[in-house]
Structure formats: structure tokens, C-alpha cells
Symmetry: C2
Subunit: 302 residues, 2 copies
Amino acid sequence: MKKIAISIGDLNGIGLEIALKAHKKISKICKPIYCINRLILEWGSAMLGIDIPKEFKIQECGEVFDIKPGENTKEAGESSFDSFITAVALAKSKKVSAIVTLPINKSSWAMAGINYKGHTDALSDLLGCETTMMLGCKDMFVILFTHHIPLKDVSSQISTKKLSKFLIDISKYIDSDKIAVLGLNPHAGDDGVIGSEDKDIQKAIKKANKSIKRDIFQGPLVPDTAFSKENRKEFKYFVCMYHDQGLIPLKALYFDESINVTLNDSIVRTSVDHGTAFDKAYKNSNLSLKSYINAVKEALNH
Amino acid sequence: MKKIAISIGDLNGIGLEIALKAHKKISKICKPIYCINRLILEWGSAMLGIDIPKEFKIQECGEVFDIKPGENTKEAGESSFDSFITAVALAKSKKVSAIVTLPINKSSWAMAGINYKGHTDALSDLLGCETTMMLGCKDMFVILFTHHIPLKDVSSQISTKKLSKFLIDISKYIDSDKIAVLGLNPHAGDDGVIGSEDKDIQKAIKKANKSIKRDIFQGPLVPDTAFSKENRKEFKYFVCMYHDQGLIPLKALYFDESINVTLNDSIVRTSVDHGTAFDKAYKNSNLSLKSYINAVKEALNH
């Protein structure tokens, strides 16, 4: 069975509870290695009233600190970063085949002086290569061309050169002979009547297909009908021009199932598609394990 | 039973087939009056091989011309506009309580020298008042603050003054004590970190609620989670800042059920949410009647 490193996330959030509760299920399909300090693990599980499973292999890291459920603390920020870099190190040294990350908290990272916006950003830096975010579930994935930028700035990011390079890059990581590329404007510009970016998108698609010598990319699709049932039967992968163009339909259709995959040249990393849920931390409530389990399954696919 | 005028749409498209096939069902809930020339009706139904139902009341209008399935023609453009203005006239003179429109073709309208972008646009002009587009089905409606403009121009349309006026206006037409208003940027701006428009949206919501003396409007909602199952249980109406913000989730969730409602001070008009489907015209195929029947039902709700 493949070994997977689990980055445990912010210990003031719901990560540990998810890891403990899902262990039985995921250990049937892989050998998880949890990146966590043993004393913290013991303390956290006691707080939750959940026994540590017998075969719960850990990679010790980080320091002991006070778990403060639902709070932003410097110590929790540091600890979650330690867990993450430990998991990345295991992957880089081929001791695991992939890593799965539980949610960190950006504000806690900032309190600890860690100035990345999130895992994807940190990973680009740690690996020294560009990474691309793909989010979704087994039925549908969206790949984001732009991420956390104001909507009004999206248009200026779209150029034939930049987008065609992006498409050529992702064709290396996605094993599919059919990937949809969305237009930008209403009705994909109505043939240039509503904005000109969709024509650049069309050129980028042609250029990318020519370069990779296969007609993988199709579009630009009219955005509003792109995610119809009919289209979702035809396509599994959708390249979206901006954050909400991809995430609105994904979360409308598959809210708690979806996961986050980082595409890059080096290591496989998948993640849950939810946050630390501070409001639910250490309440031993009925948390959904779907996204985490799907993230582990997806990590094993690569 | 209420009388409803049916604007038959572009006769080179699928409108007539839908009207004929759905007549039995809709005549159980209302008295439809079809705005069409009798000879064209007879010819079109013969082409389709569908008998004209016995009680198929028409309001004669327009001229006889050659039906050319799936083609853009000046005559079909003129005829569909004649049907539309006849239906509007019936509503203005209170001979019907509402109108339901089948799809027209913009290019055919243009060929006939009719320079409206569509029904909503024409209706604003004919009624001499502003109209607002609402699209959806019984479970969910989206109301569009901006329509067919390039994505890069959306931001400049958002001001506290303009949006609060818009919200106050729609509160007159929508009978609900809870209407969601979406933010513009990823994560609704992350407290100003990703764009500033979401703060203007917040101010507009406060201003509108204050003016109408009820806290109807809630938001700005984070766009990517706005249409989650949980939120859709809480809200039926969603005010969206741009075309695809509303239409992407609507069509992903309710593709062929949804309809179009024009909100204004004067007459009730609902419409199917699909086009002329020239590729399916006069093939007597298995067309979905859902959107049309829902449009008739919604017209009767007002």
C-alpha cells in the first residue's frame, strides 16, 4: 500500500478530529503517516474524547503548546507550518508517494511570521516551481487561471501568450484528452460584441493544441451553460478564468465532497476544500469526512 | 381562469412546436391567447404534423411569410416582433393578466430593423419604465444587477447609490422578507484585501434596508459558497452583481426548468430561459416543455 504523509493543519481547528475519525477508513487504502508532535496528539485526542487508534504512525515534529480551540494563536500557526514542511520533506525524499493537507489558518500563519497566503503558495516556494490549483471531485474538476485577485483585474491577466503557456503546462499533469476552457464574458463575448478577451482565449486554445500536437483543449465555452448536466457528461475538467467562475458551480453542485489538488512538476499534494471551522473545533460533533477521504483517494490516483 | 397572452416567438425556431405541444397542459391552469397569424399557424402546424388543438384561441397579428426552419430571416424577425407587441397591447389594455414570451432571435430582429437586444430591452422602451431581469425556477431565482456588459466593466457599475436604488426597486416586486445579495470579489473581498467593491455593496444593503424600514437584504454573501445547498434552503432570491455570477449556478443546478421574469411597475411578463434552438426547429423531436410550462405557472403567480 502507498504511504501518504498527512499534514495535520491548525491544531486549534478541526483537523485532528477529522484525522482521528477517518483513520480506520483511510488506513484500508493507504499507510498514513501523521506529521504531529506526540504529546500534542495525546492531549488533543483526550480533549476530543477520541482514543488514538492503535496503528497511528506519526512523524514527530513541532513543539508542545496550549491547544486553544477556535482561537488564532502564533503557536498553532507555527505548529501547522512545521507539520506541513515535515510532510513536504517526506515527499521530497520519496518516503511517501504524496501528501494530504488538513486546513491551516492564514491569520495564525501571519501571527507566526509565515507570510504565505496558503499551502499552494508555500508549496510553490518550497519546491521552487510554479503550481496550479485544481479543485473538484471525481465527477468534475475546475482549474483556476487566476486566483485571489479583484474581479476587475482578471481581464488584464488574460493574454494569448500567458494562457497558452498555462494550458500547455496543465496538459502535462492532467491525463485527459478533452479539457473545457471557459470564456470570460457573458455569452463568451457574443462574437466580440461583449468584450474582446474571449477571442484571445480562442487563440490561446489553438496555440496550446498546436504546441502539444493534440486537440485536447476545447472552447471558449459560453460560461453560463458550461456546467450544464449535458456538458458535465462531456467534460470532467474545466479551465476557469477566475476564482468564482469555477468555485461557484463547484460548490453549488458538490459542496462538501470537493478537494484541492496542487499540480506541479514535483510532488503530489491534495487537500480538503474547507477551512479550519473554528466554530466546530473540539466539539466532537458530526463533521463531514467526505472531503478528506476524497483527498486521500485522489492522492492515491497519481 | 386567468387569461395569458402568448407571444409566439421566432416562427423559424421551436416556439410554435412548444406552444402546440404544451397547450393541453397549460389550458388546464389558464386561458392562453396565442398572438399569431392564422394562416401561419395552419401552415406551421402542418409542417410539424401536429393538429391545432380545438380550443386554441388566437389574437391575429402579423403577415403571412415563408417559414424557413432554422434560418434567420427578416420576415421571421418582423413576425416575432408583431406577436410580441400584440401581446403587450393585450396586457396594457387589461385583456390578459400577463404575457408569456417564447424565444425570438436577435439577429432576425436586427435584419428586420428592430434594434432591441431582446424582450426585456424592448419592454422597457414600450412601457417607458425601467425593467429588471430575474431568472430562475420555483426553488431559486437570481436577479441581475448588470446584464450584457464585459466582465471588466462590472466593477465600475457598482456604487452605493446605484445599488441601493436597485435594491429598493426590487423590494417592491418581490414578495419575500429575505433576499441574499452577493459580493463581487473572491471571498467577498476578504475584508477589503481583494478589492473594495464589497464594502460598497455592504453600504448599499444597509441603505436599502433603512429606506424600506425592513431588514430584507442580507449580505454581501461570499460568492463561491452563496449557492451551497445550505444557503439555498435559507434563501430563494439572490441578487447577483453580474450575468454569469447568477446564471452559472442557475444553469448548473436547474438547466431546463428555469424561466425569465421581467420585473417592472406595469405588466407581468415571463419567458422561457432558452433560445430559438434553430437546430431543432420543425423536427417534431423530444423538446423539453418544462421551461415554458414553468413560465406560464409563474405568470399566474402575480
